[in-house]
Assembly symmetry: C2
Homo-oligomer: 301 residues x 2
């Protein structure tokens, strides 16, 4: 089934490019558009370079979108020379960007009005996962459309779940980013408290790994805190964007998000100290600045 589907890809950035390349490795017929022009290597690999999103849509059955933020998706879909201009019944738009769940529902409805269908399919796993085709993909949309597109998603990711109707993929991604940020914060509080109490934070981290405090974040990000390695990884400025989506969704729905708010405050403080591009585990630095103590530093007194 998927062998006969022609694919389109809009957005060939750090994430989109390796994802498109993975589709081509499986010999999927692929038309692509990106603002800066399709790179020569992709053309040589057989990707058809298009002049606009509308041009991609004219040539593809399934149109993947991987762009930075909500307004970018809106422009690509409904702006000048956008996808909507050449959208036909039976086509499927798959937005893999991480954007607003609420806006996503609107985009899905507008696409369906044209007889096409829509999936939101944001990913986690970063550049490494995009290159390795090991992305986690969280999908919102109908089961039938998910089933049609699944073979193509399998070429880009590994844990691929249909969560619910259109928007549910974005909700799941937001939930993921909330938990990741707040768990980083929790680990940061605990290790900083231990360190300022004169206790070896790395020994505490290791001792806690077996019990109820254990998490991927304690394992990976906790170690970054004790080893003082804040090279991304996942940049603070990107996580700030994701927490904005969480906070605006919380505001729209009336859901209090105290930890998410705290994490955004701490990211903002990192930003004030030049930390936009620190790994998100660097959130602990904002706590450290307040505590006037760095993890691993010899405690006074």
């Amino acid at each position: 089934m998927s062998q006969t589907l022609k694919a389109g890809f809009i957005g060939l950035g750090i994430m989109g490019r390796p994802m498109a390349e993975n589709l081509r490795k499986h010999n999927v017929t692929l038309a692509a558009y990106t603002r800066s022009g399709v790179p020569d290597e992709l053309k040589q690999a057989g990707v058809v370079a298009c002049d606009s999103a509308a041009d991609v849509a004219a040539q593809a059955d399934v149109i993947f979108i991987m762009v930075p933020d909500t307004p970018d998706v809106e422009r690509v879909l409904f702006g000048e020379n956008g996808v909507a201009q050449s959208l036909r019944a039976g086509q499927i738009v798959v937005d893999m960007s991480s954007i607003s769940p609420m806006a996503t529902r609107g985009f899905g409805a507008r696409v369906r009005e044209k007889g096409a269908d829509y999936l939101d399919a944001p990913v986690s796993g970063g550049e490494v996962g995009a290159k390795a085709a090991s992305l986690t993909i969280m999908v919102g949309g109908s089961q039938a459309t998910f089933d049609k597109v699944k073979p193509l998603l399998d070429m880009m990711g590994k844990n691929i779940s249909l969560i619910g109707e259109v928007g549910a993929g974005q909700v799941c991604k937001v939930a993921n980013q909330v938990i990741v940020a707040a768990t980083i914060e929790a680990v940061g509080e605990a290790l900083l408290l231990a360190s300022k109490a004169g206790v070896d934070a790395e020994k505490v981290r290791t001792a806690l790994m077996g019990g109820f405090a254990s998490s991927r974040i304690l394992e990976v990000h906790g170690e970054r805190m004790t080893k003082r390695t804040f090279k991304p990884g996942f940049r603070i400025e990107l996580h700030q964007k994701d927490l904005n989506l969480a906070l605006s969704t919380g505001q729209a729905l009336g859901v209090p998000l105290p930890a998410t708010s705290t994490c955004q405050m701490l990211f903002n403080a990192c930003s004030a100290h030049g930390g936009n591009a620190w790994d998100h585990s660097g959130m602990v630095r904002a706590l450290e600045i307040m505590a006037n103590h760095e993890i691993g530093q010899k405690a006074k007194g």
Copy 2:
């Protein structure tokens, strides 16, 4: 070595009793004191019933303490008919209660003044772990004393770590309770946001288990939230006590603990709604009350 050490046990509550029983199962000579009187079953198992903490100390080389809170440890050690009254050089006090790290340092110093030694060795794993001798034990004190007592600790627990000097065990326990509470809160925010957005929170939880949001808390406590089972487990009122220790330690050391403060606020709100004895995963109910929505409830509009 441990076979020749006589043990004493002070405090035979929900935790202390099965721990003492596990020592007796290994034929350790055991004298015990508890305020309500040593139960007959323990006497029949060969435990020597004592009239006071001082009496226990008179008969034991290693004196274990397992009582509720900091003032209880202080009373047992230094109060009327307390351990200090009959403490001799070479004896070892092992406080397995979860109490203030700062107070612990003082207790350790006072015990050492008498030529005895002190370990703080708080546990996690609860009643189930106490009965199964599978407790995690976090120890503060000297390596030599830890090595002497280790064979006895092995009869009560499984993951047993020397974290640092006296007090380090309590610091590690506090760090554990901070991470556990704040991760519960993080999972609660994320699942509540998903549910109020009309998405199946259990599907979100399952989808997130493979990635960076994964944790023991998402696995166990997240499921309690979606299944609506708030029977303890670990009671909110006990976790409140532990967070008080964290917050007072943070205040003493000048460490900001925003998530810990938030969690305590939410526990207090649970308490106001009759939730003292809910499982600590019930913290999410405080968020739900604010959001006017329960996880799993059909979202309006």
